[in-house]
């Protein structure tokens, strides 16, 4: 465990919020409860949250503030996924002692690099009187500028004084102004005010009795939703001036952010979370059976799906439902080796991306036939229609499929004991013989079996153990013959866009929707999404400019917590 100046800011926050905030599992409930106070009226909205920056958010904020050449010298603890989203899990994540040490290491390394000879001219807006002596005025200027971007609000006077003092003491001790400055910056970066998104509410003057996020918290929620990073200076300025609390000011900022290339970052981050792509970090495959599945291919499989999503939803302003039917994508020659399709290496480089359209008879159509989905939801050495069916229903339909009961004897279904069967379909038929299993498997298996023509890593296959694979299936009364038909059924399933609406909102607010929010999401907002022809930017605009997104309804807090 580290000690010294960096830890002092945690102690200060600890005194303010209670010890639970610092080292123990940080309870969003406790912190929020102290911030929002009692409510006097109800409306559509929910609780404020305290969210630990996810790994991607941390990286993005550092890259946005300091540039991409600043290296992160440390290791993140795994993100926590709750209710299908890391964005929700971040509100329940704590910081262990070892994690805090890692954050401190990263903070020190960043502080040192930002103030080194190469970078200081870019970030330090003043020169000290002597590089061997403290210069509190210059340090204050630098730390105030950086602090505002990192805390997503201006530093309070005592906060700034504390970090300036830290820099001054270090300079005195080391005889180097920039070492002190880097140490002060490291203090900011290892503070809970940076590592956590601390949402603060206030009375809403427009709706007496209701509360709303403060302008800075509003800017933060908006920025992470659309850009997956902290607010830029323009957004902070709008918060500072109060413009963000006006309809015109909010609309202007939302339109500016939707038009920015950084929107793609935000959309990629949301779908990375929704599609559970973080699980690729621990995904292994039997390389004897599937030697073409390499770390590079796994990374490109993820990237392919994200490129497909961004191309369709952001660049082409397409219909979200078409993600389940489109054959258009991008490909590299290396990834093409997994699909066993020819992909001419662009500029002769096998890892270069090139537009690609799956052939009509390839069986691949829609992102559920991408290697990313198929590989992620399979065993290392064999497919699992149950896992694929469960994932499809949970990820795209927001349905909850229960885990199997603890008493299930899985040996009945594995290949060795089911040797008399040739296909997975035949083996899974045994589920119907068990009433304990049949309930859930009726939901998952018919969907997953349709994807059986794709092996564990997503390659196409027509037969299994010499037997043609039957991919016919049925979902909610809609029958189909193959994955293309399943994609079409998803395209036309009303639950698919409704699920996206709910997921996206939940992603933005960092918690499951409260009861009143759920009604609004499945009713008015889902209808608006349909009226907008299922365009994602339109849905983001609706959410980002809604009152509900920023309104704090304390009673909803207890509803969301109880839904855990």
């Amino acid at each position: 465990m580290t000690s010294g100046p960096h830890m002092m800011s945690w102690s200060r926050v600890s005194k303010r919020w209670g010890r639970a905030v610092v080292f123990a599992s940080l309870s969003a409930v406790m912190a929020v409860a102290q911030l929002i106070g009692p409510a006097e009226a109800q409306g559509v909205g929910g609780g404020a949250t305290v969210r630990l920056l996810t790994q991607d958010e941390y990286r993005n904020v550092i890259a946005d503030v300091f540039g991409t050449d600043i290296k992160l010298a440390g290791r993140f603890e795994p993100d926590l996924r709750v209710n299908g989203l890391i964005a929700v899990g971040a509100g329940k994540a704590g910081v262990t002692g070892s994690a805090l040490e890692q954050y401190d290491n990263m903070a020190r390394a960043i502080g040192s690099e930002v103030t080194d000879e190469r970078h200081r001219v870019l970030f330090v807006p003043c020169a000290p009187k002597s590089i061997h002596d403290p210069d509190p005025a210059c340090a204050k200027r630098f730390l105030a500028e950086m602090g505002e971007l990192l805390f997503r609000r201006p530093l309070m006077d005592d906060e700034l004084a504390y970090f300036v003092d830290s820099a001054t003491q270090t300079t005195t001790h080391t005889g180097d102004f920039y070492t002190g400055l880097g140490f002060g910056l490291a203090g900011i970066l290892s503070s809970p005010q940076f590592l956590f998104r601390l949402e603060v509410s206030e009375e809403d003057p427009a709706h007496p009795g209701l509360r709303r996020l403060t302008a800075y918290s509003k800017a933060e929620r908006l920025s992470f939703l659309l850009w997956n990073s902290g607010p830029d200076q323009a957004l902070l300025a709008a918060a500072k001036s109060g413009a963000l609390h006006t309809k015109k000011g909010l609309d202007e900022q939302v339109e500016r952010m939707l038009a920015s290339p950084r929107l793609e970052n935000g959309v990629r981050a949301f779908f990375t979370d929704m599609l559970e792509f973080d699980q690729f970090d621990t995904l292994g495959k039997d390389t004897t059976l599937y030697p073409n599945y390499t770390a590079e291919v796994a990374e490109q499989a993820k990237e392919q799906t994200l490129r497909t999503i961004v191309n369709l939803l952001v660049r082409d302003r397409g219909d979200y439902r078409d993600l389940f039917t489109t054959r258009k994508s991008e490909m590299t020659a290396r990834l093409g080796s997994l699909y066993r399709v020819p992909v001419s290496p662009r500029d002769g480089v096998i890892d270069a991306w090139t537009p690609y359209e799956f052939a009509p008879d390839s069986g691949h159509a829609g992102i559920i036939t991408h290697a990313s989905f198929l590989a992620l939801h399979s065993h290392p050495g064999q497919t699992s229609p149950t896992i694929r069916g469960k994932a499809l229903r949970e990820v795209f339909l927001c349905q909850k499929v229960p885990d199997p009961p603890a008493t299930v004897d899985f040996s009945r279904f594995n290949e060795a004991t089911a040797a008399r069967t040739k296909t997975v379909r035949e083996r899974l038929q045994m589920h119907s013989e068990s009433p304990v299993c049949a309930g859930c498997h009726r939901i998952t298996d018919p969907v997953g079996l349709t994807l059986e023509k794709f092996d564990t890593v997503g390659g196409f296959r027509a037969i299994e153990n010499g037997t043609p694979i039957d991919t016919s299936g049925e979902m909610n009364g809609v029958k189909y013959e193959d994955p293309v038909g399943l994609g079409a059924a998803l395209h036309d399933n009303k639950s698919v866009p409704s699920c996206l609406v709910s997921r996206l909102y939940s992603y933005g607010v960092g918690r499951p929707p409260a009861a009143e929010e759920s009604k609004w999401l499945s009713g008015e907002l889902a209808n608006q999404f349909a009226a907008d022809r299922y365009r994602l930017p339109a849905l983001l605009r609706r959410i980002a400019t809604s009152d509900a997104f920023y309104q704090i309804v304390p009673t909803a807090l207890s509803a969301s917590v109880s839904s855990k």
Partner: protein, 369 residues
């Protein structure tokens, strides 16, 4: 019946697709494409086929020092030092030419013939290239063909880097491919017009160079089903030959085979009167043999370029191989001297399934000009 297809990658609506454009009214036939991940001289060594054994690196050192005029005591002192870990003395300058000391690797004829042992026996891999069954020829154990010409095996088969049993590669051969696996442009094989992989009286085989090297899979071997861009260099344009498939074995007619390679391996592979045979393996790979007459001078240069490394690590007597090549070369004599300049050879080829993207005709024309 086979039909030649022009295969090209063409841009369709911004996407890339494989377009098969029949030159005439086509019936469906299959094209199989491969990337070669390993090639090595076809050896078929047996116990006791090299008598006496060729000298090892210490023996080569002793002889080199002797040629440099060192005394017996000096030689033994140097050998003792090397065996204790001292730096090996440089014996490259051991040749004598017109009274001057010269580099024995560059001027191999400046040292006496060391009379390297050559492979004895009559089991050898390859093809009967000249249609004759001569005393020095082999019988191929894999096909039963008699009169097989592969004198390269006799030259290399008694030296450690190449010596190997049937179907195996000498350690030196695997190492050469490992060194250039991800840097040297890959070799490609395109077999088209396959109506039946078991029996087909006419298929077409092309051998060409890729613009990209191989890539590795998770096991460290060649990544299969990768797409390579064909490099339309003019000297590979002749690598087209017809063949037939009988009982699953594809055998081609004669053609002149040329592929550039890496100096680390062999500067180039040029085989005259070449023939190939392949088998389609159940796992999708292709395995086979290419045989033909090869100019032995580039072969010797490849050995000479390794200089003392070859003699020290490879334990082969470099100038000794020069004399062996001259003696066993069996085709294409120099009109003036009568010295055969080509030696019969055979190489294994192993390849993984791949895709080949051919440049559009306009690009080929530009390159050819």
């Amino acid at each position: 019946m086979r039909i030649r297809e022009a295969i090209a990658f063409v841009a369709v609506g911004g996407a890339t697709a494989l377009s098969m454009v029949p030159a005439q009214n086509a019936v469906a036939s299959e094209t199989r494409q491969y990337a070669v991940y390993l090639s090595y001289p076809a050896m078929s060594n047996e116990e006791g086929d090299c008598k006496p054994s060729n000298p090892d690196s210490i023996g080569i050192l002793r002889e080199g020092l002797r040629l440099q005029g060192k005394s017996s005591a000096e030689i033994e002192q140097a050998v003792d030092g090397v065996q204790r870990g001292d730096k090996r003395p440089d014996i490259s300058m051991r040749g004598k030419l017109e009274g001057k000391t010269v580099d024995a690797y560059l001027y191999p004829f400046s040292v006496p013939d060391s009379q390297l042992s050559l492979v004895q026996g009559h089991v050898g891999i390859g093809f009967n290239l000249d249609g004759k069954d001569k005393p020095e020829d082999f019988v191929d154990p894999l096909t039963g063909e008699r009169g097989v010409d592969n004198q390269l095996f006799r030259v290399l088969g008694c030296s450690r880097p190449w010596r190997a049993k049937i179907g195996e590669a000498g350690p030196y051969q695997l190492g050469k491919w490992e060194q250039t696996f991800e840097s040297a442009p890959a070799w490609l094989i395109d077999i088209s017009g396959i109506d039946s992989a078991e029996n087909d009286d006419d298929v077409e085989v092309r051998v060409l160079l890729a613009k990209q090297p191989l890539a590795r899979n998770a096991l460290g071997t060649a990544l299969a089903y990768l797409t390579f861009t064909a490099d339309p260099i003019t000297r590979t344009a002749g690598n087209v030959v017809h063949g037939s498939i009988k009982n699953g074995r594809l055998t081609t007619g004669k053609f002149d085979f040329y592929l550039p390679s890496e100096p680390q391996k062999q500067a180039e592979y040029g085989l005259r009167d070449a023939r190939m045979r392949f088998e389609f393996l159940p796992d999708g790979r292709l395995k086979g043999i290419v045989g033909g007459y090869q100019d032995w001078r580039p072969l010797y240069i490849t050995l000479a370029l390794r200089r003392s490394v070859g003699e020290q690590s490879g334990s082969y007597d470099t100038p000794g191989h020069y004399y062996a090549f001259r003696k066993l070369a069996d085709a294409y004599p120099d009109p003036k001297t009568g010295q055969n300049m080509y030696i019969s050879s055979a190489y294994y080829l192993e390849a993984v399934p791949a895709f080949i993207a051919y440049p559009e005709p306009s690009q080929q024309l530009t390159r050819a000009q």
